[in-house]
Subunit: 326 residues, 4 copies
């Protein structure tokens, strides 16, 4: 690889009502870095970059882009070369075009997901030790994107061979085909995961919490503020990734995962952990089955050039939901 | 009242396989006080009495008795007088008949539940500060019994008027009738709760944990030992009682609640908290609906004289399950 | 006993700067029930009574009274009779004299501590499930008073024989004399504790927290707000009482304990736990020795009749500080 | 840099009594991977490599080496070239010489610390989800080394310029000289820290815990097993690094830090955080001052060639202890 992707950086989501979104995400404990009539920029408590979640007011909910931070401007040039060599239709957003970031490269990935790469983002005060500002689930930082794609193996191969990701854990279904995969650049379980399903769609954005009690506190605060119905699944523990998790739906239906657990995946001799799709401990190490909505619903993504919603494709592998749940 | 009931004291459960039960309850963190071929006596870490859970090996699972501790032997005599005055058929088990307890009075209560009262139980080493022995969910002490009865209002009136219990919280259903009630002698939310349902049956025995993390630890340990399927409901928080809860089914289907939360109910001016049956935050302040099994299944109870299972009766109030769950 | 004391109810403290006190106690997570130019009334999150901490603006810090709640008005009359029979000089504050409480009986106890008894206090909204209002250490309720007195054995005998308290744990020093004792009416470790020292003085008021993480959160929030120097001791665990503790000094030097742990002391067959003064695990089950200030400093108390500070007396037992600390 | 150091990998400590060490480290929750008459190999619960702590039975306590894992064998060759170019006297331990690791390169670093580099270590079962084996503080993985050296600036420059480390936080003392520095290869706060002091010595080895409650649980279990006196400092929070910490002394006086907190340091635009040596929140964000032993005592290190203890040097900066502590 001639480029170095550091980590998942930010999600750009279209929402229909900024006030409602603001109330919801502040209840979760996000910090508002900046806002105007059309935008809110949120960050977690330990983040020293301007934002990791950008909400844009638009008529319809959608995913404009999921973004990765790279080491330097030169990495962006190398990524451009790579994508052009692959026949991709890239798009540059010059510095100044977007609030707080330098120039950014956008491209539809092999599954059609709208990716963005940037090297520079304004820094802001890190609030890690401003415990007096901790609220709700005390969101610390962005952790990963989880995407539903019709062909997981193709995405998996592409990210590993061409983008330099490593696999921490994966699930196989029928005929030992990869049904889902967890891939990382930073040495955690993932920066991005792919699951077999109608896509390309964004299943959720995962944010990291400092400890399990922050997740319980988050549930209590959400419920006290009337957001109980926004809790879709959890708290529970995934077998896969060992995450202590909570899944929420924001007022536009975008799914947010609150996440604690994880482990260090820095070593080249770390062997990816293989799970069988029908292993009941894979999805839920303990506790309840996921509701149907968790398997069926996800956020639609946009064409980086036209801004229109991308068409969806049926998944390649037949089984969309682990058997033990049915 | 001429007698003084202190608190819920112990449950006597019939189980079919002592080895299986032993493994399960030890995984939960119970301490075995004593055991032989036919019996296991368990206690929690802070308990200074010999046991709070007595498992007897029998051909069929059943509830032999739920027991309350009273202040003195004289209270037992007064309870005898009271029950005889009510036309009840009482039964004495003299000291020496049962392991570790003094003489005990048994009676079928107004709903048919097999009650037992005792003043004396052998004391043992309290293990509160033997943190090296803490395991699983680190069960601290018995907290309450939850019973399904056909006529909650009748049970409620009887326990308050005749047995000296106070009500902390209650649920009303159709026509403002009491659908469920939480009653206490010790100044916590409850020593016993009654819910409208086919009965008399024991819905669960609740044990108190020292903090929420012990419940999460309990889930992880249970799952690691293969007891994931025994987790029936939770973790979650009840609106009613504010309990952070986990419901488990033991190898014979007896239901155990692990419970943290509670509050002090010592004051006579504490006004019982009223909930509407269909308030979605009542059962589950946040998180998922209870599975059907939680509403339908419970342990059958025995006749104190014959040792045979008591016949079940349909509940008086029609609705057996909160509407929002259906 | 012809009277029934329920529990420790409130502390009335004189402070010199209400604004400073307000900031400090709100950082801890207290809820302000009411305030004016001369007073602030604070309560914990689960408290349904108007307040458990009353701060009065005065030129000098002092303890006006420590108060116990009794069952009924009749209990107050019986307490009056009792204290008069003992030769005590009592004082009535009629209903309406003090904000939110009914009539109150004040008396200097056998050690000179200014006690108050009341049966009635206005009820307010309990905020137990208003998790959105939880802050700092999320103080739940008042738990106990800890007092330094010159003659612990005399206080111990008096509270047990005449006021109906029971002992949960105690410490013996030289010649097996009681050096400190933990006494309760509600079935917890204590409503009041006495320690050998220059007195009568109030060592601290203890408030109960819902779990250990609330105490850690409290430390972080206090430090973030600049109150780090107000943390005098802890976090740590006492061997005695098993409390997970933190000791704070408020802006006037009054000491507040944040407290989690405890156990149920409801049974008459619970045997008080005896500790040796020089057992290093007694004071601090793990962690560091207490600073000298913790042994030397305490709040002075007022004469209920004159409002003047009571003279202090040297303790009867020579050793004021456990040997292992010296 | 022509080589890529991944992370701190293992510590090799000499201890005088293996049985005593075994009991102590097992109480902490370490997993024994292998042991014989002369050695114990310990790992944390999430570690997939054979060990991160190697205890060797020897007549005197000492630090044989602190080891870093590199990406590949080639990195070892490049490191050899580098150290030889610097005039260092290197030493190879061929594969098979040491249990479970491939060939290893040893060298005395610029401060005299005995470093070791290796690319290969046997993999073992990761026990991350064997919650039934979690004990004590449930140690998860090795995190960092903290070393006392006479010239921190020299070490700091060397590790950053020549070994590819980045600085997350640092402390300046007199004349703005670097008094202490936290340096990392993996994107956490540190793999190694240097503090001004008599050296070269190893101050402590830090191990990472999954959450704050594991640290509290660790204290309780240690105390219950009689290891209370081994707790030297904490629990508390460092301002610097935001760590929730506990410092322990093993039976030979080697210092172990249990550590939770941390944050992601992956970004090149992360600006190292500067602290003033006399900022009271630096060492202890809340809670007590460190005892003198924490500043004065550390483990002596060995010459990689002779196996003899290295001579100690006085620190370059005069002040050895922050002023506010004195």
């Amino acid at each position: 690889m001639m480029f170095d992707i550091i980590r998942s950086g930010r999600a750009i989501l279209h929402v229909t009502d900024l006030e409602q979104s603001k109330s919801f995400y502040e209840a979760l404990g996000f910090i508002e870095s900046e806002a105007d009539e059309e935008n809110i920029f949120f960050r977690g408590l330990e983040e020293h970059n301007h934002h990791s979640l950008w909400l844009k007011k638009k008529p319809e909910p959608a995913v404009e882009a999921i973004s990765y931070k790279v080491i330097s401007e030169q990495d962006l040039d190398e990524l451009e070369k790579f994508f052009i060599s692959q026949g991709n239709d890239i798009k540059w957003l010059e510095k100044g075009t977007q609030r707080s970031v330098g120039r950014a490269l956008r491209v539809q990935d092999i599954s059609g997901l709208p990716l963005e790469f940037y090297a520079e983002m304004e820094t802001v005060d890190r609030l890690l030790q401003r415990y007096d500002l901790y609220k709700g689930a005390k969101v610390q930082r962005i952790d990963h994107f989880n995407c539903m794609v019709p062909n997981v193996e193709r995405a998996y191969d592409y990210y590993i061979k061409h983008l330099g990701f490593a696999c921490s854990e994966y699930t196989v279904g029928e005929e030992e085909k990869v049904w889902a995969a967890w891939l990382h650049r930073k040495p955690s379980v993932h920066d991005v995961a792919f699951m077999n399903g109608i896509g390309p769609r964004l299943h959720h954005v995962g944010f990291w919490l400092k400890d399990p009690m922050s997740l319980i506190d988050g549930c209590d605060v959400l419920a006290a503020l009337g957001y109980g119905p926004n809790i879709e699944r959890g708290p529970g523990r995934h077998g896969l990734s060992n995450a202590f998790f909570l899944y929420l739906r924001d007022p536009d239906g975008h799914r947010i995962e609150l996440y604690n657990g994880d482990y260090l995946t820095s070593d080249p001799d770390f062997k990816p952990i293989k799970w069988d799709l029908d292993d009941p401990m894979r999805q839920t190490f303990w506790g309840h089955e996921a509701p149907d909505s968790w398997f069926d619903e996800a956020s639609e993504v946009l064409d980086i050039q036209t801004g229109r919603k991308l068409p969806q494709h049926e998944p390649k592998l037949k089984k969309r939901k682990p058997q033990f749940v049915i």
